[in-house]
C-alpha cells in the first residue's frame, strides 16, 4: 500500500476495537433484559462505505451477519441517501432476515457518524430481544413462515435528525408483549451507538480524516492477508462433510443435511454448500448472512484466534450456496432458530472438513444448544419473565487440550454468561433443584471433551408456557470425536410431572407445565480427540476422583484399572488391559 503508515494502522485498529468494547460495556451495564445480561449481543463499527472494521462479539454468530444488515439499510435507503437524506442524529432499526439480518429476535440498530458534516462511519449494535412478536415469545417452533416467526421490521428510521420518531416506535412496540423491556433495551443499544459516535468523532479529530481512512484501508487489507496466510497453512485438497439438523421445527420432523465441499488451494478457500438439503417449513432455515457468520466462526475456531473479525477476513474466503436451501433460505421461510441449530451444524461441517485436511488444527464437535425455556408473567410480582434452566454443555477437545466444561454451543464460543442461579429464582417462578456436571457426559479421548451437565428445575406456577428448543438430541447429531476420539452422548430432556407421569417432549415443541412439574435436561459434553487408550492413566484417575469419569468408563473406555478403595492406578492391570484392547 502506498502512503500507508503501518504503525498508525495498528493504532487506529486498536482504537476502533477499544471503542467497540466500550460500547459493549455500556450495554452490559445499562441493559434491562436478562437476555442482554447474558451477553447475547454484539457491537460493531463500519466505514461509511459499509466495510466492517471492528467488533465486540460476545456472540460471534450475531457479529458475522452485521455487514449484510448494514447493506440492508443502505440498499433500502439508496435513493434517499443519494438525495442527501442521511443526517447526523439518524438512527435506523431492522430485524428482518430478508433485509440482511440473520434471524428476527436480534434487532440491529445503526447510527451514521458524521464528522464536520460528512458521513464517515456507522456504529452498530445488535442484540437478542426478550420479545419480537409472532405467535410465541422468543422462538416459535410452529412457525411455518416468516410472518408466523416474528414481527418483521424492515429497515426504518427510529430517529430522524436526532428526533425520536414516536410513530415508528409505537408501530413496533404495539406488536410486542413486552414493550417496556424492548423499549429499554433499544434505548440501551442506541445509547451505546451514541457513545461510539462520540469516540469516533474524537478519533477523526485527533488524526485527521485522510490518515484514518488510509489506516482503515491498511487494517482491512492486513486482516485479509492474515486470514489468507492462515488458510495457506492447510494442505491443498478437497474435503467433504455432511452434518444434520435434528429437525426443522414442529412441521418438519426429519433430519436435514448440510453438505460442505471445502476446497483449499494455496491461500484461498471455497466453502461450497450447494449440495445441501432444500429449505423446510419450520424455523431452522439459515439465511445467507447467518451461513456466512457460521463459516467465519468455524474458520476462526481453527486458525489464529487473535485475528480480527472484519470485512477483510470475510473477503479472504468464498462461500457458494443455492438459494432455497437450508443454508440460503428465501422468503417466506421462517428462520428464528438459525443462529442456533443451523449455525452449529454449519460450524461442525467446517471442523469436520478441516479435520480431514489436518486433524491437529481442528476441534472435535462441541455440544449443541438444547434447553427448556419458561416464560410468562410472574404472578408474585406482575412482571414478565423468561428464563432458561439448563447448564450448558462442553466444548470439543483439540490436539493438546481437553475441552472446556459447560461452556456452551459454538455459536457463542464461550462468550455468553450463564444467569446466576439466584437471579434466575428472583426473576422467575421456577426453582433450580440442581445444575451439575454429569459423569461420563464427555467424549473420551487422549484429550477428552469438556463436561456436559444435568439440570433439574421445578415450575412454581400453574399453566406456564415452556419451550423445548435446540438440536443434538439424536445419535446422528451428537458431538463427534476427532482423530480417534469418541463422540459424546446426545442431548436429552424429560419432564417429571407433579402427578407422577414422565414425558419426553420432542425437541422444538411448546408445553404447558404446572406447579410442581420438574424439567430434567442432560446436555452433551464435547467430543474427544485421539485414542482414549493413550490418555495418561493418572489423568483418568484424576477424572474419576473428581467424579467426571466413572470407574466403569475408566476401565471399559480408557483401559485404566483403579484400586476401588484408594482410586490409585493399578499400573500392571492397566497396562495389560490397554494392551489387550489395542490388539483387538
Amino acid at each position: 500500500m502506498t502512503g500507508a503508515d503501518p504503525v498508525l494502522a495498528g493504532i487506529v485498529d486498536n482504537r476502533l476495537h477499544a471503542i467497540a468494547e466500550q460500547m459493549a460495556q455500556a450495554m452490559l451495564r445499562s441493559c434491562r433484559s436478562m437476555v442482554f445480561q447474558s451477553r447475547d449481543f454484539v457491537t460493531g463499527i463500519f466505514t461509511a462505505r459499509g466495510e466492517w472494521v471492528a467488533t465486540k462479539d460476545y456472540i460471534p454468530v450475531l457479529a458475522g451477519s452485521l455487514p449484510s444488515a448494514l447493506a440492508g439499510v443502505t440498499e433500502r435507503f439508496a435513493t434517499e441517501f443519494a438525495a442527501g437524506d442521511l443526517h447526523e442524529g439518524d438512527v435506523f432499526v431492522l430485524n428482518d432476515p430478508y433485509h440482511g439480518n440473520n434471524h428476527p429476535p436480534d434487532i440491529t440498530i445503526m447510527k451514521p457518524v458524521f464528522h464536520r458534516g460528512v458521513h464517515r462511519f456507522w456504529t452498530v449494535t445488535k442484540g437478542h430481544h426478550a420479545d419480537t412478536g409472532g405467535a410465541v415469545v422468543g422462538y416459535n417452533p410452529y412457525a411455518r413462515d416468516c410472518w408466523e416467526d416474528a414481527l418483521r421490521i424492515p429497515p426504518v428510521r427510529l430517529h430522524h435528525r436526532g428526533r425520536r420518531q414516536r410513530d415508528v416506535w409505537d408501530l413496533i412496540l404495539l406488536n410486542l408483549r413486552l414493550p417496556d423491556v424492548v423499549e429499554a433495551d433499544l434505548d440501551c443499544q442506541i445509547g451505546a451507538a451514541t457513545l461510539g459516535e462520540r469516540e469516533l468523532v474524537a478519533l477523526l479529530d485527533a488524526y485527521g480524516v485522510e490518515p484514518v481512512e488510509n489506516a482503515v484501508a491498511y487494517q482491512l487489507d492486513a486482516s485479509r492477508r492474515h486470514m489468507r496466510a492462515e488458510i495457506g497453512r492447510l494442505p491443498d485438497g478437497v474435503y467433504r462433510s455432511v452434518r444434520h439438523l435434528d429437525d426443522g421445527g414442529a412441521h418438519h420432523r426429519e433430519p436435514i443435511a448440510v453438505r460442505l465441499e471445502l476446497t483449499i488451494r494455496g491461500e484461498s478457500a471455497l466453502f461450497d454448500f450447494t449440495g445441501s438439503d432444500p429449505q423446510v417449513v419450520g424455523y431452522a432455515n439459515s439465511t445467507l448472512a447467518n451461513t456466512a457468520a457460521a463459516v467465519l466462526i468455524g474458520l476462526l475456531g481453527v486458525t489464529d484466534p487473535t485475528q480480527r473479525r472484519t470485512s477483510g477476513a470475510l473477503a479472504a474466503i468464498d462461500i457458494r450456496t443455492t438459494p432455497g436451501t437450508i443454508v440460503h433460505a428465501v422468503e417466506p421461510a421462517a428462520t428464528s432458530l438459525c443462529t442456533l441449530i443451523a449455525c452449529e451444524t454449519i460450524v461442525e461441517t467446517v471442523w469436520e472438513a478441516v479435520g480431514q485436511a489436518d486433524p491437529a488444527v481442528t476441534n472435535a464437535a462441541w455440544c449443541r444448544g438444547y434447553t427448556f425455556a419458561a416464560m410468562g408473567v410472574d404472578a408474585r410480582t406482575g412482571r414478565p419473565f423468561a428464563v432458561t434452566g439448563a447448564m450448558k454443555g462442553g466444548s470439543g477437545a483439540t490436539a493438546g487440550f481437553d475441552g472446556w466444561d459447560a461452556v456452551g454451543p459454538p455459536v457463542a464460543m464461550g462468550g455468553g454468561r450463564e444467569i446466576d442461579v439466584e437471579l434466575h429464582e428472583l426473576t422467575a417462578p421456577t426453582t433450580v433443584l440442581s445444575q451439575e456436571y454429569e459423569t461420563d457426559s464427555a467424549g473420551a479421548g487422549r484429550w477428552r471433551g469438556g463436561l456436559g451437565a444435568v439440570s433439574r428445575w421445578r415450575i412454581d406456577q400453574d399453566d406456564l408456557s415452556v419451550l423445548c428448543i435446540g438440536s443434538g438430541a439424536l445419535d446422528l447429531t451428537a458431538p463427534f470425536g476427532a482423530a480417534g476420539g469418541a463422540p459424546a452422548p446426545a442431548n436429552r430432556g424429560l419432564v417429571h410431572h407433579a402427578d407422577g407421569r414422565i414425558s419426553h417432549p420432542p425437541t422444538n415443541s411448546l408445553l404447558r407445565l404446572d406447579r410442581g412439574d420438574v424439567v430434567e435436561i442432560h446436555t452433551s459434553g464435547g467430543g474427544g480427540f485421539g485414542d482414549p487408550l493413550d490418555r495418561p492413566a493418572d489423568a483418568v484417575a484424576d477424572d474419576v476422583r473428581d467424579g467426571l469419569v466413572s470407574p466403569t468408563a475408566a476401565r471399559d473406555v480408557y483401559g485404566v484399572i483403579l484400586d476401588p478403595i484408594t482410586d490409585e492406578v493399578d499400573a500392571a492391570a492397566t497396562a495389560a488391559r490397554r494392551a489387550a484392547a489395542r490388539s483387538r
Binding site: Q22, G414, V421, E425, Y437
Partner: protein, 829 residues
Amino acid sequence: MISTPRTPRIPTARAPKAPRGGAVGGYRVAVDVGGTFTDLVLRRPDGTEAVHKTSSTPGDPARAVVAGLTALAAAERLAPHELLGRTETIVHGTTITTNALITGSGACTGLVTTAGLRDVLPARQGSREDQFASKSAPPPPLVPRRLVIPVRERVDRTGAVVTPLDESDVRRAAGRLRAAGVEAVAVSFVFSYLFDGHERQAAAILAQELPGVFVTTASRLVPQVRMFERTTTTALNAYVGPVLRDYLDGLADRLAELGYGGRVLIMQSNGGVVGLEQAADRAVETLLSGPAGAPAAVAEIVRTLGTRAARAGAGGTGGAAGVDRAGPPTRPPDTITIDMGGTSFEASLARGGRTETTSNGSLAGHPVCLPALDISTIGAGGGSVAWVTAGGLPRVGPRSAGAVPGPAGYGRGGTEPTVTDADLLLGYLDPDGFSDGIGLSRDAAVRAVGGLAERLGIRGSAGRHPDTAVTDAAVIDTGVIDDAVIEAAAGVHRAVNAAMADSLRLLTGRRGLDPRRFALVAAGGAGPVHAVEIARELGIPLVVVPAGASVLCARGMLRTDLVRYYVTTLRPDPRDPGAPPVPSDLDAAFDRMAAEALDDLPPHLAGAGRVGFTRSADVRYAGQVHEIPVPFADPAVPMDHAVPAEPAGSVLPRTDDAGLKDLLERFHDEHELRYGYRRPELAVEIVNLRLVARVPTLPPVPADSPAPPGPAHPAAVAPPIRAAALTEPTEPTAAARRREVWFDGGFREVNVHDPATLSPGCPHQGPALVAHPASTVVVPPGYAFELAEDGTVLVFAATDTADAVLHRVGLGLGLVAGDGDGDGDAAAR
C-alpha cells in the same frame, strides 16, 4: 508481641494509646514488600521522613522486613530495639496473598456448598474470556472438584428455609476434607445473603471437626446477591487465608523479638488498613495490598497541588486562564495514576484525591466482589513484546518478555523487541542502565528491533540502506544504527503510548468521564518515560511525577486510614418496585450501618469522635440489572478532618425530599454520561445503600502548619515532604549531562537534568530529560517542566504556566477554552 490469630483477642487490650494532637508520638514505619524490593519509609516524630530500599526475600519475606528495619535504625543511629521501642505504628503492605494466587501456591482448600449446586464455582458461568482460543486450558480451579462437597440444605428466594441443614452431611464433609488434608474451607450456600443461619451452623461444625483449619463463610464475608461471585470471593479468601495467617504470625513473632510493642496495621485492597489480628479473616482483601498504598500518597500530592491551585487562583498568577478572583473555588485535581514498570501497567482514577473503588474486580481470572480500589491491570509495561500479525499489522503486547529473560536490551538472552528496547534506542533510557545495576545492551536491542523493522517492511525513511538487511552485523559493529531500526523503535513507542491511552480512555469512558479534565500522575520505572505522550494522546494538560516515585506505595501506607465498608440491600415492595423510597427508611438503614461501624472500629479511635462517613446509593431504572453508585451530596468531609461525633444517629446528615431529588437527578446525568441516554420519566430504584467509615490513623496536623490562603479548601495540609528530606540513596551528579534523544522524527541533543540541582518553581523548556534515580521524565519539545516544592516534577504545555494549568485542572476545566479546535464540542456532546 506474639500473635495467635486462631484465638481471637480484644484489640484494645494491647493497643497503645492513640496519639493525640500530634505533639508527642513516636516513629511510624511503612513497609511495602514487593516482588523485587522491600521499601520502607520512616516518619520521624517531627514529620520528616527517611527511605530505605532493600531486596525482597521471597522465600521468607519477613527477613527483608527485619533487615530493612535494622538498616533504618542504623541510619537513625539507633539500635533496632531502640527504634522499634519508640515506634507506635507499623503499616505493612504485602504481596504474599497475590503471589500465592498467581503461583498457585495457596492453601489446599475445600468448599462446602448447597447440594445440587456443586459446580457453580468450577463452571465459571459457562464462559471463556478468550473465545476462539480452542487450544487453551481454563484457569486452574481454586478448589479441585473432589473437594467441593455438597450438603443438603436449601433457602428460597425470600430467605425462608426450605430444607434444614443436614448436620450429618456437614460432619461427613468434614471427614472427607480432613482425609484430604485441607488447610482451609469455604462455606457458600445459595441465598445465604438473605439467611446466614445455615452457613454459621456449618462453619461451627467444621471448626469443631477441623481444628486449626481456616474456615470462612460467604454470608459473613460478602453478604450480597449472586452466588457465583459470592462463592469465588469466599473460596479465594479460604485459598489465601492460611498463607496470610501463617506469615503474619511469623512476622509478629519477629517484631516481638525485636522489642516492638506497638500496633501493626495491614494495608488492604480498599485503600484502608486493618489490625494485624483481623487481617487474615478477610485475607482476600489484601490481594491488592501493595498497590493500594499509592493512592494515599497521590492524594497528598494532589492536596498540595490543590492548595497551590487555590493560591494561584486567589493571587491571580494564573493570568493565562483569565482567572476571576471571585470565581468558583478550586479543588484538588482529578487524577489518573499510571504505574508502569518492567512487567506491569496499572492505572487508577481519583476524584478530588479519593481513588474510586469497585466491587466488580477480578484477579487472575477470579471475580472478587468486595470493594477495592479500582486499580486496573491493563498491560504488560516495558516488557511488552512488539510483533507483526501475519497480515502485516503491528501490535504491542499483551505478551510480555517478563522479568526473565526480559527485554532484549537487558542482555539476558531475550531476543524479542520490547517497549524497553525501543525506549533505549530512542535515547529515553540511560544506556548505562538503571540504578539497580542492570546494564543495557544496545546491540541486542538493535537486533531485536531490526527484526521487527524487516517484518514491517520498513526500509528507513531516508532509504539509505535499500539493499542492506538491517540486522547486518556490519551495521551494528559501526555503532551507527540504521534509520529503519530507529523508525521501527519510534513506531513501537508511538503504538504503545496509543494503546495505553486507549486503556485509559476505556477506564474513564466506563464512568462517562472526560480525561481532558484530569491530571496524569506517573509512577513506576517506565511511567515517566511515556507519560507526556500518553497525556498528549488524551488531551491531558498536566503530568505529575512524584518525587520518590519508586517508594510511592510505602509513602502512601504511612497516610492511610482505617476504613470499613458497609452495605444494606433495600427490599422494595415486590408489587410496586418503583415506589419512591422514603427518606426516613434510608436514614434508619444508614444509622444502623453507622452504629455497626462504631462498634467495629477500635474504641479508642471511634470513641474519640474521629470517624468520617460517606453515604452513597446504588441506583438504577426499575428493571435494569446493574446499578450506578451515586454519592449523596453531603457536606464534604475531608479525609483528615473527621466529623465530631457522639451517637451514630446524629453523625449522619438527614435525608430529605430535596436531597433525594438531587440524588436522582445526578443519577440521570450519570446514566447519560456513562451509557449515552437518560429516561427521567421511568421509575428509579435504589437497590443498595452504602456507608464508608473512615478513621485517620495519622495524628491531626498541628494547628500552626501552613494553612492555605483563599476560600478553597479548609483541610489542613500535612507538612510537605521536601525533596531534601528524602534520603533515598542517589548518586550525586555533576552539572546537567547531555544526551541524544529522539523527538519528532529526529535525534537532538538535550539536557539531562538532575532534580537535586533544580530550583523549585522555576520553569524549564523542553525538550529535556529529568533523571530520577529509578526513572526518567521525558519532556518533548513544546512542553515545559518545573520542580514543585515537594520534589514533584510538573510537565505542561510550553505556552502555559504551572499555576495556570493547576488552576484550570482544579476547576475541572482541563484544556484551555478554545484550544483543540472543536475538541471541546465533541466532549460537550
